[in-house]
Symmetry: C2
Subunit: 122 residues, 2 copies
């Protein structure tokens, strides 16, 4: 009737080392939960059709906007509003949970080398 067990973030994160490469760990309706390892600086992009949630699991990250920068630490979350340009950064490797609708591309329409393959489960 119910098939899955609890999903442990640390255990999922231990299964890959690639940075900027989100891995899907769960689905809720048409949304997905992904864990990601961030280090350095991503690319400016936005998501035209959806908000995007970051929950920091370990370490800290910055989300840069054109007018300010927000720092998010372990035990905190942030909602990036749809259509708002942003860039993520982390001085040291940071582990985060990303929540957004299925099919959202990590770089939005910006493309480039950091565009990750979608729908990769771990």
């Amino acid at each position: 009737m119910t098939t899955s067990g609890p999903i442990n973030f640390a255990e999922k994160l231990s299964k890959f080392s690639e940075q900027w490469s989100p891995r899907v760990i769960a689905a809720m309706n048409d949304y997905q939960f992904k864990v990601v390892k961030l280090k350095g600086e991503f690319v400016w992009h936005d998501h035209k059709d959806t908000d995007e949630v970051f929950v920091v699991l370990d370490g800290e990250m910055e989300i840069g906007f054109r007018d300010r920068t927000v720092t998010i630490r372990a035990g905190e979350m942030f909602v990036v509003p749809k259509g708002v340009e942003h860039i993520t950064r982390a001085a040291r490797e940071c582990h985060a949970l990303v929540i957004e609708p299925s099919g959202v591309v990590n770089t939005g329409d910006a493309g480039g080398a950091l565009t990750a393959q979608n729908e990769v489960w771990v």
Copy 2:
């Protein structure tokens, strides 16, 4: 342009003491993020139209199903599939994040004394 800061789970949880009384802390599209304090046993119920996600922030909780029980600890999440009867329990007070569409009633159609007022932000 972007108005909110990081949302700190512990800080939000420090602002209320009522158990089984979810408080909304963030919205993403038509979904809400709620923090809740659980202790004791809830009521059997289901949500006919939606999956429901629990992320344990502190402590541990059980989700009972008719055929088994799942224990979720801090650093873990679980997706309760839509339409599946479940009951939440916690021997000691547990703090969790609940993610589901706006307007979902905590007791589903079961009602009763533990039915919480919806849309209460903290």
